[in-house]
């Protein structure tokens, strides 16, 4: 079994139900996110388009975070999930330096590294991840990549526009996007103007990154 995720970006409407359900399910503290939705606006009025991109851990087959973690706090489960052992984590933040997707954060309450685990605790008892259940448009498709009959495998077979983030890094992510675009998936393909965003008062918090 090799679990993977696929997001059909044409279905995502940016409601953030996935992000909210993830925070509720996993007790993610304020200012920290296991799953977040980025908005990108493209074009000039009236020719405009808004892209929504749910971002979470890519559970790479060749995960840099697993390789760099000095104590195996980040480790593979038999189903391919990259899991975190909070009790073992020493908080060195190497995984944050290694993850090219900015998917790992330091929990300000436990002081340990944390990230999306594909809701490993729910999978264990046969449930779907919280974000899959909460999505009103079934944009999140989750399942076994090794099973040709699973919905995700069929999706991957049927679509020719399957994308992953930063494929050049050879991390072999198990998180796919269909009907996406470069401006949505490449962090440098779109500008980040200051002062004109939807929420301009976003601040970097000392207690997360610093000491």
């Amino acid at each position: 079994m090799r679990l993977g995720f696929l997001v059909d970006l044409s279905r995502c409407m940016g409601c953030m139900a996935c992000a909210v359900s993830c925070k509720a399910e996993n007790n993610v503290p304020l200012h920290s996110w296991r799953l977040r939705v980025k908005y990108i606006d493209q074009g000039e009025f009236p020719e405009t388009k808004r892209h929504f991109v749910p971002l979470r851990c890519n559970h790479c087959d060749n995960a840099p975070c697993e390789r760099i973690c000095p104590v195996s706090a980040l480790h593979y489960l038999p189903n391919g999930i990259v899991n975190v052992d909070h009790e073992r984590c020493i908080g060195c933040a190497s995984c944050m330096m290694a993850c090219p997707y900015n998917a790992i954060y330091l929990d300000p309450i436990t002081n340990s590294a944390d990230k999306c685990t594909y809701c490993a605790h729910r999978i264990e008892v046969g449930m779907m991840p919280a974000c899959v259940v909460a999505c009103p448009t079934h944009a999140n498709i989750f399942g076994d990549l090794d099973d040709p009959e699973s919905e995700i495998s069929k999706y991957l077979q049927e679509h020719r526009d399957v994308m992953v983030r930063k494929p050049e890094l050879n991390t072999h992510p198990k998180h796919f996007y269909v009907r996406g675009s470069t401006v949505a998936l490449d962090p440098l393909a779109s500008e980040r103007p200051e002062g004109y965003t939807l929420f301009t008062d976003v601040e970097f918090l000392d207690h997360i990154g610093g000491h």
Binding site: G91, M97, P187, F204
Partner: protein
């Protein structure tokens, strides 16, 4: 359709590895550099080896102590640092480094005991393993940076050479400073040689930086953006300050000192190199962390 703008993204930390990690690398350069150069001078000038047999362990223990202290302080779970030894994950350069530096500390303690008891043979016996451990203590951080896939300018072979050169700069500069403070106790020949080592390693390290910044073919847009941040962005004062203090000023002052036998200039050049080394390491460490990854 024109360009695209990110209109909503949540706050994620900018600089995660900050000044404590810069200090770790800086102090480690001094500890390993003084050890490697100390061994060289003990072998080459056995008639004046007392200076190096004394200062090699003292400088080594002080600066490796600073390295270990800031490493532990930087952990968000500092009291769990021992887990590196009991749950060691050997694909990680962090783990390998912890083991190597721990062994290097033992070598430094033996070297210190050798000086205290006057038992020169004790240090002579551990010279080869000590050299190997000091060498790997210098370069293991390059392995960590190489494994940090998200920060694309930290490329392994270049980082390794850069760290070896940093050790040579820091080691020669530290000995020049100690010699000047204790009233120029070293033979002129040795002082000049230390000056040449500082001059040469600063020149090579500067050439590497200039080569990487201005002439290297940059394939990745992330690396290109990082260099922009480094040279013209928020990090530029650290970077250019470091370039002048670590490379240009020491080369000029040490050059004058060696040509005109005015060794007070070498002392100033050495001090400048030690201060500048911290700045340049800090700039190189934090610049890639300014890039958005989401």
């Amino acid at each position: 359709m024109l360009g695209a703008e990110v209109t909503f993204d949540v706050a994620l930390p900018k600089v995660v590895w900050g000044w404590l990690v810069s200090t770790n690398m800086w102090a480690k350069s001094i500890a390993t550099g003084t050890f490697l150069l100390g061994l060289y001078f003990i072998k080459k000038y056995p008639e004046q080896d007392n200076f190096f047999r004394k200062w090699l362990p003292i400088l080594g223990i002080i600066f490796i102590g600073i390295t270990l202290l800031v490493t532990v302080l930087d952990l968000h779970h500092m009291f769990r640092f021992w887990k590196i030894f009991v749950f060691a994950h050997f694909t990680s350069a962090v783990t390998l480094g912890a083991w190597v530096v721990s062994a290097f500390v033992i070598v430094l303690l033996i070297a210190f005991w050798s000086w205290v008891t006057g038992n020169k043979k004790l240090l002579d016996r551990i010279m080869i393993p000590g050299f190997i451990l000091a060498f790997f203590s210098t370069i293991y951080t390059a392995g960590i940076m190489g494994e940090a896939t998200a920060r694309e300018v930290w490329v392994f072979p270049a980082e390794m050479i850069s760290m070896l050169l940093s050790a040579m700069i820091a080691g020669s500069a530290a000995y020049l400073v100690v010699d000047a403070i204790y009233g120029n106790v070293l033979k002129e020949e040795i002082r000049r040689e230390l000056g040449y080592i500082l001059f040469g390693s600063a020149g090579l390290a500067a050439a590497m930086f200039i080569g990487e910044l201005f002439f290297a073919k940059i394939h990745s847009e992330f690396a290109y953006k990082t260099i922009e941040i480094l040279a013209f962005g928020d990090v530029a004062p650290f970077f250019w300050g470091g370039m002048f203090l670590t490379f240009i000023i020491p080369m000029v002052l040490v050059g004058i000192a060696n040509e005109n036998k005015k060794y007070q200039y070498a002392f100033l050049g050495a001090l400048s190199a030690i201060v500048g080394l911290w700045l340049i390491k800090h700039a190189w460490l934090i610049a890639p962390q300014y890039l958005p990854l989401s």
